[in-house]
């Protein structure tokens, strides 16, 4: 197991200062943040159908990974996947249209928030299900496009599914270029990790002889530096479990947060958004307002579109 070292603490706040982000990283982080906030607002107004799962607080995970993944790599996402999609394509209108069932939807409004397929990106709504599929894809890539990998995002709760272990076994056994990114936000819907997981993710990876890398930092640059050589090894057929200790800022879906206030407060204190605003106010404010306005504009545009069209028997 390797661990990303935490940087020096800020003498005023007693916590690590976030390093300065590249403009495009900051913009992407903010895009995901404002997209998710907008969704909750739209749901609150009853303008969306069904449910959604926002990644508030976890936006930095796919942003940190973005330049480490190439166009030839497959990305498998899950129910909490808006950030993964936006980090891959930056396509807020297509995603919002999908969630709202409007013209221009990525998947015609059929898949909705948690079932999206575009090029080499695919998300599914059943926990753990995509891991064996990703193993098959990784097998194909190893044979036909050496150097490409399959990346699967899962959560801490996903480790309750047997499919995870069947796939881990195959990944190690067949030396598959499989990168498993675990967003361990400490809570599976309403159940704290401590109430649903014996042992650790690291221990489970170790049981299969699969490398494990623990990321406790929320600093995009630092995370990247730590992951870069490990992701390169995945490409050579050495699977990796990269576990991010992260925080789910918002509810599981909408208005269903039963966590005690101190737990939510801890998540808020770790939130990159407030931290970056404090650590780099000028940079933050240069982008925050414009990106928020951009998302507002996207929402207005998409809401005004006609419903998406799809034929069940197509």
């Amino acid at each position: 197991m390797t661990e990303t070292l935490a940087p020096a603490l800020d003498p005023d706040t007693g916590r690590p200062r976030l390093s300065r982000l590249a403009d495009d990283d900051l913009e992407l982080l903010l895009l995901i943040r404002h997209f998710e906030l907008k969704l909750l607002q739209l749901y609150g107004r009853g303008e969306l159908n069904g449910t959604t799962h926002t990644c508030l607080g976890q936006e930095y995970v796919p942003v940190a990974l973005r330049p480490l993944l190439g166009a030839a790599d497959f990305v498998f996402s899950n129910h909490r996947g808006h950030g993964h999609y936006l980090a891959r394509f930056g396509d807020a209108p297509g995603l919002l249209a999908e969630i709202m069932g409007r013209e221009g939807a990525v998947c015609g409004g059929v898949g909705g928030s948690q079932h999206i397929h575009r090029d080499r990106y695919l998300s599914t709504g059943v926990q753990g299900e995509s891991l064996p599929v990703a193993a098959g894809v990784a097998m194909h890539l190893r044979r036909t496009e050496p150097g490409a990998l399959a990346c699967v995002y899962i959560g801490d709760g996903t480790w309750g599914e047997g499919a995870v272990y069947e796939a881990l076994n195959l990944a190690a056994l067949w030396r598959l270029p499989l990168l498993i990114v675990v967003e361990n936000n400490g809570i599976a819907q309403s159940t704290p990790t401590a109430a649903q997981m014996a042992g650790t993710v690291a221990g489970r990876a170790a049981a299969f002889g699969v490398d494990h890398h623990l990321v406790v930092s929320g600093d995009v640059n630092e995370i990247r530096t730590g992951l870069e050589p490990l992701v390169a090894r995945v490409r050579e057929g050495r699977p990796l479990v990269a576990e991010f200790v992260t925080h789910r800022l918002g509810p599981h879906s909408k208005g269903d947060d039963t966590r005690p206030p101190e737990v939510i407060r801890a998540a808020e204190e770790n939130d990159w958004y407030a931290r970056y605003a404090q650590d780099h106010p000028e940079h933050f404010h240069r982008f925050d307002g414009p990106v928020r306005a951009l998302v507002e504009g996207v929402a207005d545009d998409v809401a005004a579109r006609p419903p998406s069209r799809w034929s069940p028997c197509a």
Binding site: L122, V126, G136, A138, A150, E166, N169, L170
Partner: protein
């Protein structure tokens, strides 16, 4: 040629012709060649594309889906079809859904082979015919092996469909000959439908009863047809579709008469036959003397001991009795 050899040849042919084809499953490598020897010789000829897997039916089905997702043709073997339950999520929620849930059609060339059925004393968890549990799943097609359908042709049809297919192989058929052995009857094909009629033209022209049966039950239907003809001068026609779901009921219609019966090995309740009956009723209710009759195995677990197993599973004599009852009403 025996059915198992025909199936094995079909897999050889598929790997020969399609460089993206994979066969994967438990114990499929030589010299073992699969629990029922269906994959014999494949790994020796195609070592890179015949893959032995751990005992992980869910994962191996998922891997097959992943291979299909990346443009390959994947054939997965579930050692006993009973274990397809362990792959239900991959089949129902991933493979079948993926064909259409992303808004535009995503073709998947994927076949999951399921050795199926009883009669070999393997007991309650190794003898089932689980077809009925997969009927009606959008994006998943069900086929059944039959002595009247060349497996090469059936595999081509399944692969061409571009959606996941389950292929049910009644284990009893493996050692039986391809084609028709009973001189009383003649088989002809109309597209994917096999039509078996008495060789005597007058009997064939106007059958008293039409039996619809999937491939694994066909020989029991034929046994009943023989005894009905010889003992009671009742003539029957047998229809064996290759694809069970979605069923091409239009193909059956020209061959149906006033009395129709569906025979299958599934245990009673929620059966494929119920689906067939409904489709037939919708189209030709007026032409029927009575509702389509269903004959299947008892609503029971399938026992291991031979004498008990015989009591539960559908037999030729059960079909014989059902035809007589149908004609008496």
């Amino acid at each position: 040629m025996r059915v198992a050899e025909n199936l094995n040849a079909a897999l050889h042919g598929l790997l020969d012709d399609d460089p993206t084809a994979y066969v994967l499953g438990e114990d499929v490598l030589d010299p073992y060649g699969g629990a029922f020897k269906i994959t014999k010789g494949l790994s020796a000829r195609f070592p890179d594309r015949v893959i032995t897997t751990p005992i992980s039916e869910g994962a191996l089905t998922g891997v097959a889906a992943g291979l299909a997702l990346t443009g390959n043709t994947a054939v997965a073997e579930i050692m006993f079809g009973d274990f397809a339950t362990l792959a239900f999520d991959q089949l129902c929620n991933f493979a079948a859904k993926s064909v259409s849930m992303y808004g535009s059609r995503l073709p998947l060339r994927m076949v999951v082979r399921c050795p199926t059925g009883g009669g070999r004393g393997y007991g309650p968890t190794h003898s089932q015919s689980l077809q009925k549990h997969f009927v009606g799943m959008p994006g998943l097609a069900l086929y059944e092996m039959s002595p009247f359908h060349d497996n090469r042709e059936v595999f081509a049809a399944m692969v061409d469909r571009g959606e996941p297919c389950l292929f049910f192989e009644d284990k009893i058929l493996y050692t039986r000959p391809m084609g028709q052995a009973d001189p009383l009857f003649a088989v002809r094909r109309d597209g994917e439908l096999a039509v078996v009629d008495p060789v005597v033209p007058e009997l064939a022209a106007r059958p008293d009863c039409v039996i619809v049966a999937p491939g694994g039950t066909a020989h029991r239907a034929l046994e009943a047809m023989r005894s009905l003809l010889m003992e009671e001068e009742i003539s029957c026609r047998l229809l064996v579709p290759s694809r069970l779901y979605p069923l091409d009921v239009e193909a059956l219609l020209p061959y149906l008469g006033e009395v129709v019966l569906v025979a299958e090995e599934s245990t009673a309740g929620g059966t494929w036959g119920g689906e067939v009956a409904h489709l037939v009723h919708q189209r030709v209710w007026d032409r029927l003397r009575g509702p389509v009759r269903l004959v299947c195995s008892a609503a029971s677990v399938i026992p291991t001991a031979a004498h008990l197993e015989r009591e539960v599973l559908i037999t030729g004599s059960a079909i014989h009795r059902a035809v007589r009852e149908a004609l008496r009403d």
